[in-house]
């Protein structure tokens, strides 16, 4: 599927309301969004605008209060918790701001984790892990533990973990937010390469215009609504 055909992500009239004490906080209201297959979408907006909430909904980590959310034809909002966990394992690769690597496992084992849910045997898992490390250019650091890796290297491991199962969609939550400019640029280049050269669909939450410039499209979220231009 390419950018001109049916959208990979289709969000229609989605609302997400949180209850805090007696108060209802409407984070997203009647939101509409379509993301095409193969697109690299940057999602920007001020703090508290609901960017991460939207990303969590798309990634099946949270459920909308109302509305529909379909990804690759699956109505994600209608899946049970168990189905949602299996769906995430199959279709979503997460890249987190703070990498979220498990400190007790070395880089290789961290990347292998999502493959444990696939039923692949050990040799196949090893092959996939090696390919993922090669894609992020970190094969020589595969045996290192996260604490011995730089921030940029940890994020590369995070990206390798996200792509190792060849997911439908990569969701990146401020992937350069914890990195210096140079490391951040390298990560953005890597994401761009995954999008252009490997056809990965990417949705990236960022505060950084420099990062969003690498995306093929940028949308802005403010007060629970999306727009194609930043609000003043």
């Amino acid at each position: 599927m390419n950018a001109s055909s049916q959208p990979l992500v289709s969000i229609h009239n989605v609302t997400r309301t949180f209850t805090r004490g007696a108060e209802n906080v409407h984070v997203l209201t009647g939101l509409e969004l379509a993301v095409a297959d193969g697109e690299f979408l940057a999602l920007m907006g001020p703090s508290g605008s609901g960017k991460s909430t939207l990303l969590n909904l798309i990634g099946g980590l949270d459920r909308p209060t109302a509305g529909s959310l379909a990804i690759g034809g699956d109505r994600v909002d209608q899946l049970s918790d168990r189905q949602l966990a299996a769906w995430r394992a199959r279709h979503i690769g997460f890249v987190f701001q703070f990498y979220n690597l498990l400190p007790a496992l070395n880089a290789e084992r961290n990347v292998e984790l999502p493959l444990l849910l696939t039923g692949l045997n050990k040799a196949e898992r090893r092959r996939h892990v090696a390919a993922a490390f090669e894609a992020v250019g970190l094969t020589h650091r595969a045996k290192h533990f996260p604490r011995t890796l730089s921030g940029g290297e940890q994020q590369r491991v995070g990206i390798a973990r996200a792509i190792v199962t060849d997911p439908t969609l990569l969701l990146c939550d401020e992937p350069t937010g914890d990195l210096d400019r140079k490391s951040g640029d390298e990560i953005l280049t890597l994401l761009q390469s995954l999008n252009r050269d490997h056809g990965k669909t990417i949705i990236m939450v960022t505060h950084d215009p420099h990062a969003s410039a690498r995306a093929s499209r940028t949308v802005y979220l403010d007060k629970g609504q999306l727009s194609n231009t930043p609000t003043a």
Partner: protein, 395 residues
């Protein structure tokens, strides 16, 4: 396959991350070790006491008391009755006659070696047949007492527990002096807590004329008991109750064993509650420390079940490790440790060795496992219920 892989990979990861929480984990394990150590220690007392009371209770040995009496202290049998009992069918015989012993049981005061305070010690008058009837009496030092003389032999447990009970010494009881001529063992059984002398010498010393309190007999076989019992209980000249020695000792030990076990379980339950809260605290901390890791695993697609399983596995393994440590320490410290306590049925001291048995160790580990399950369950459920998006934001 994938479900099992999930279960074990998350549990394995969890255990690998344990060194990062070693202080809390060690605290919980040591707490549980303490509880299990105390439980095993106290139950080893009960087990040791029960063993001392029952080890020599052979099923082919019977004891006869006056009907209605619940111990030798409250029993009384005249000479004619003891003869009838010895001659009853089912009693084994050798060249010297029936294997029986008419016995007298009195209490004397002797100072304990450990504290110097007086304690009740059983002085038992026995006939020479007593050695064959019991079958497990071994002279460890000196010799048997001679018939008709003020001589005693002392059980090995009594000799260890009470002052002045050495071969060659004399003990003064009332107006009489008794020379100690031997030390005997009885396979760790009750007789080792006693001092033995000739019934015929003890009777006049305690103004008992010809009366005794019990008759011990060896039967031709364990199966001969019913014939023996029926013969005595249907004899109109006798008013007796007949018991297998094993049943008699079991009955005699019940009150003290129950008391010690109850105290032990009560103490262990209280301590166990403390350990349970310790384990809960540790596991809640572990879950709190790992909330981002747990959320990450769940975001990657691992289910709630493996998370619950992993927390429970950690809790149970910590508890088993602590329990094993406590049980091992209790075994090393207490097994075979010698002590004495009063037997309420005879109001006399029984010396015994603490017994840390495999069954006791198994119970202790089971107790530790229960603490582990109790301590891990609620934190595990909390970990599983935590919203993933919230967990991912934890620092």
């Amino acid at each position: 396959m994938t479900t099992l892989t999930q279960l074990f990979s998350v549990a394995w990861y969890n255990l690998r991350s344990l060194p990062e929480r070693k202080a809390a984990a060690l605290t919980a394990a040591v707490g549980i070790a303490g509880v299990v150590g105390v439980l095993v220690g106290v139950l080893a007392i009960a087990e040791g006491f029960r063993r001392a009371m029952t080890v020599s209770g052979s099923p082919d040995v019977a004891v006869v008391l006056r009907s209605g009496s619940d111990s030798e202290m409250t029993s009384g049998l005249e000479r004619d009755a003891t003869r009838t009992i010895s001659d009853a069918p089912g009693v084994a015989r050798n060249a010297a006659g029936p294997l029986s012993s008419a016995e007298l049981f009195v209490i004397i005061n002797l100072p304990k070696r450990s504290t110097g305070t007086d304690a009740n010690v059983p002085l038992r008058g026995v006939e020479q047949g007593a050695f064959d009837v019991r079958g497990n009496i071994r002279i460890e030092a000196g010799r048997r007492f001679a018939t008709g003389r003020n001589e005693v032999i002392v059980g090995a447990g009594a000799a260890r527990a009470f002052a002045g009970l050495d071969v060659g010494k004399t003990i003064k009881v009332g107006q009489n002096e008794w020379q100690i001529v031997g030390i005997f063992s009885a396979n760790g059984g009750l007789a080792e807590s006693e001092i033995w002398t000739d019934t015929a010498v003890l009777q006049p010393a305690y103004h008992r004329n010809n009366s005794c309190q019990s008759v011990y007999v060896r039967l031709t076989s364990a199966a001969a008991f019913q014939e023996f019992k029926d013969a005595l209980t249907t004899d109109p000249t006798l008013n007796v109750k007949v018991l297998r020695l094993s049943d008699f000792y079991e009955e005699q030990s019940t009150a003290v064993t129950k008391f010690i076990t109850t105290i032990g379980v009560f103490i262990a339950t209280l301590m166990g509650l403390g350990a349970l809260f310790g384990a809960l605290n540790t596991m809640y901390s572990a879950v709190a420390c790992r909330s981002r890791e747990i959320a990450t695993l769940r975001a990657l697609g691992f289910g709630a079940g493996p998370v619950v399983f992993s927390v429970l596995v950690e809790s149970v393994l910590l508890s088993i490790a602590g329990g094993g440590l406590g049980a091992a320490a209790a075994y090393l410290l207490f097994d075979g440790y010698r002590a004495s306590t009063i037997n309420w049925q005879s109001f006399s001291q029984v010396t015994f060795a603490f017994q840390v048995t495999p069954i006791l160790l198994g119970k202790a580990i089971a107790f530790a496992t229960l603490i582990g399950i109790g301590g891990g369950l609620f934190p595990a459920l909390r970990a599983a219920r935590q919203p993933i998006a919230t967990g991912l934001r934890e620092s």
